[in-house]
C-alpha cells in the first residue's frame, strides 16, 4: 500500500486488468440493483439484461441486422469525414506550424473554434447544405478538423530546432528541412492528432445523424427514443462507445507499429 500514491510505481498487468474489470462489474452491479429494486422505474432505466436482449434483437432479427447496417452507415460517414480531415487538416496544420506568417494569419480563424459550440453550427449547415449526406459529413469534418489543425501545428512546432539547424547545415533547403526532418519527427504527434479527431467524430456521430437520418447509429438511437425503447437507446450508446474504443485501440496500435522509435527515446 506504500506504493499507492506513487505515479511512477510499476503496476502488474494482471492487477491493472482486474481493477478495470472490477470497476466495470461494480457499475453493472449497481445498475442491476437499481433496476431490480424498483427504485427507478423500468421504463426509465432498463436492466442490463434487457439491454443485452435489445442488443441481440438489433443484431439479428428476422434475417436482418439493423445494428450492422447502422454501423456500416455511421462508420462510412466517419471514414469519409476522416479522410477529408486528414487530407485537408494535416497540410493546413503543417503549413501553420512550419511558417510563422501562415500561423499568424490562420490561427485567429482556427483556434477560437476549438471552444466554439460546434453543435450550434448544425442548423446553419442544414440551411447551407441541406439535410443530406453532405451536411452530415461537413458537420463531422468541422467538429474534428478544428481539433486536428492546432494539434498538428503544435506537433510541428514541438520538433527541436536543432534538427532544422542540423539539416540546414548539411545543405538542405528550408523546404527540405521541413519535409525531410521536421515532418518525419512530428509524425507521432500528428498521428495523435488523427486519433483525437476520430474520437471526436465518434462523439459527434449521433448529432450528425440527428437530422433526417434514414440510416446510422444516431438514427437508430433517435428512432428508439421516439418509441421510448430505452433498452435500445442504451444498446446504441454502448455500441458507439465500443466502436469508438475499438477505433482508438486500433489506431494506437497502428501508430506504435509505424513509429516504434517514439517509445524508444
Amino acid at each position: 500500500m506504500s506504493e499507492f500514491w506513487n505515479p511512477y510505481a510499476p503496476l502488474d498487468g494482471r492487477q491493472r486488468q482486474w481493477l478495470g474489470v472490477g470497476s466495470v462489474l461494480a457499475l453493472l452491479l449497481v445498475w442491476s440493483l437499481l433496476a431490480v429494486s424498483g427504485l427507478v422505474s423500468s421504463t426509465k432505466l432498463p436492466a442490463p439484461w434487457e439491454v443485452v436482449t435489445a442488443l441481440s434483437y438489433l443484431s439479428w432479427h428476422e434475417g436482418d441486422s439493423l445494428l450492422f447496417t447502422a454501423t456500416l452507415w455511421s462508420a462510412g460517414r466517419l471514414l469519409v469525414a476522416g479522410v477529408l480531415v486528414i487530407a485537408i487538416g494535416i497540410p493546413i496544420g503543417i503549413c501553420m506550424g512550419a511558417a510563422p506568417r501562415v500561423n499568424a494569419a490562420l490561427s485567429p480563424l482556427v483556434d477560437p473554434f476549438r471552444s466554439a459550440p460546434v453543435v450550434a453550427l448544425l442548423p446553419i449547415l442544414v440551411m447551407w447544405l441541406g439535410i443530406g449526406e453532405t451536411m452530415k459529413i461537413a458537420f463531422l469534418f468541422i467538429g474534428a478538423v478544428v481539433y486536428l489543425i492546432p494539434m498538428v501545428r503544435d506537433a510541428i512546432q514541438a520538433v527541436p530546432q536543432s534538427y532544422w539547424i542540423g539539416a540546414r547545415d548539411l545543405g538542405a533547403t528550408p523546404w527540405e528541412c521541413i519535409h525531410r526532418a521536421v515532418i518525419p519527427m512530428a509524425m507521432p504527434r500528428i498521428a495523435d492528432a488523427v486519433i483525437v479527431a476520430f474520437s471526436v467524430m465518434w462523439t459527434y456521430i449521433t448529432v450528425a445523424e440527428y437530422v433526417n437520418a434514414r440510416q446510422g447509429l444516431g438514427q437508430l438511437i433517435q428512432n428508439a427514443r421516439r418509441f421510448s425503447a430505452w433498452d435500445q437507446v442504451f444498446a446504441g450508446i454502448i455500441v458507439i462507445i465500443a466502436l469508438a474504443l475499438a477505433t482508438y485501440q486500433f489506431m494506437v496500435w497502428l501508430k506504435r507499429r509505424l513509429y516504434p522509435w517514439e517509445t524508444q527515446q
Partner: protein
C-alpha cells in the same frame, strides 16, 4: 583505416576579419558575445578553440559554418570569408558536428549517416552506388558496421557521436566544425573518441575547428590552440603545437606539455579573471 582514400581535401582558406556579434540583452541594450575576432586558417590541421564555458566560442564556430543566430542582424560587424567569398549561410564545404541532439531518433544508424544524400544538393553530386559505398566505409571506420539497423536510442552516447562524426565525414568536407562534440561523454569514452578523431583525421586531413573548454583535450588534439577570453570572446592567445599525434601519455606529462598548459591557464585567467569555467582532466 579502411576509408577509401580519395585525393585529400583542397586546403580551404577561412578568414575571420574583425568579427563582432551582439545579442539583444534581456533587460534592454545589447550583449556583445564576440568582440573583434580576427583569425585565419589556410591549411589542413586541427585547430582548437578553447575558452571558458559560455564565452561565445560556440557562436563563433557556428558563424564559421554559416549557422547564424536567427532574428537578429548577423554578424554585427566584420566578415567571415571562405575561399575569399563572404559566407552568410550554410556553406557546402563546412560541416558541423554538434554536442548532442543531432542524430535523428526516427532513422537507423545507416539512414542517419546517409541522410545528406537524400538532399538534392548531395544527390546531384554523388551517385547512389558511390554514396552507399561511402556510408558503408565510414561506418566501418567509426566501428559501427554491425549497428546499421539500430536507432540512436539503442546506442550509447559515444556511439551516437560516432554516428554524428560519420555523417559529417561521409561528405568529405574541406572544413569540419566540431562544437564540443565529446563534452557530454564520460572521461574514458571521450579519450576513445579523441583517438578515433585522430585516426579519421589521418585518413581525411581537412581543416578541423574544434571547440572545447577542456585544456587537456586541446593539448591532445590540437595542431593549433586558440585561447578565447570569457564573454565577450576575444583572441587571448594563439599558438602551434608541433608534437605529432597520437600524443603519448609521456608527452602529456612532459615539461613541454606542462608549460603549454600553464600558458593556457594563465591566459584564461588574465583574460577573464574569476569568470567562466575550464576543465583540466589530468
Amino acid at each position: 583505416m579502411t576509408v577509401a582514400r580519395p585525393a585529400a581535401a583542397t586546403p580551404p582558406s577561412v578568414v575571420v576579419r574583425d568579427l563582432v556579434q551582439e545579442y539583444p540583452a534581456p533587460g534592454g541594450g545589447v550583449t556583445r558575445v564576440i568582440d573583434q575576432v580576427s583569425l585565419s586558417f589556410d591549411q589542413p590541421g586541427i585547430s582548437m578553440l578553447l575558452g571558458p564555458s559560455g564565452c561565445g566560442k560556440s557562436t563563433l564556430l557556428h558563424m564559421l559554418g554559416g549557422v547564424r543566430p536567427m532574428g537578429i542582424e548577423t554578424p554585427t560587424a566584420g566578415q567571415v570569408l571562405i575561399d575569399g567569398v563572404e559566407c552568410n549561410g550554410p556553406h557546402d564545404d563546412a560541416v558541423m558536428v554538434f554536442q548532442r541532439y543531432a542524430n535523428r531518433p526516427d532513422l537507423t544508424v545507416f539512414d542517419n549517416v546517409a541522410f545528406p544524400f537524400r538532399l538534392n544538393l548531395w544527390k546531384a553530386r554523388v551517385p547512389e552506388a558511390e554514396w552507399r559505398q561511402r556510408v558503408a566505409d565510414i561506418l566501418k571506420a567509426v566501428g559501427l558496421a554491425d549497428k546499421l539497423k539500430l536507432r540512436p536510442a539503442q546506442l550509447s552516447g559515444g556511439q551516437n557521436q560516432r554516428v554524428a562524426l560519420a555523417r559529417a565525414l561521409v561528405l568529405r568536407p574541406r572544413i569540419l566544425l566540431m562544437d564540443e562534440p565529446f563534452g557530454a561523454l564520460d572521461a574514458q569514452t571521450r579519450e576513445e573518441m579523441q583517438q578515433l578523431l585522430i585516426e579519421l583525421y589521418q585518413s581525411w586531413p581537412c581543416l578541423v575547428v574544434f571547440v572545447t573548454h577542456d585544456v587537456t583535450e586541446a593539448l591532445v588534439l590540437g595542431d593549433r590552440v586558440i585561447v578565447l577570453s570569457a564573454q565577450p570572446a576575444r583572441v587571448a592567445d594563439d599558438f602551434v603545437i608541433s608534437e605529432a599525434r597520437p600524443r603519448s601519455a609521456t608527452w602529456q606529462r612532459s615539461r613541454e606539455a606542462q608549460a603549454l598548459e600553464e600558458r593556457i591557464l594563465r591566459q584564461l585567467h588574465q583574460a577573464s579573471p574569476g569568470r567562466g569555467q575550464v576543465r583540466v582532466t589530468v
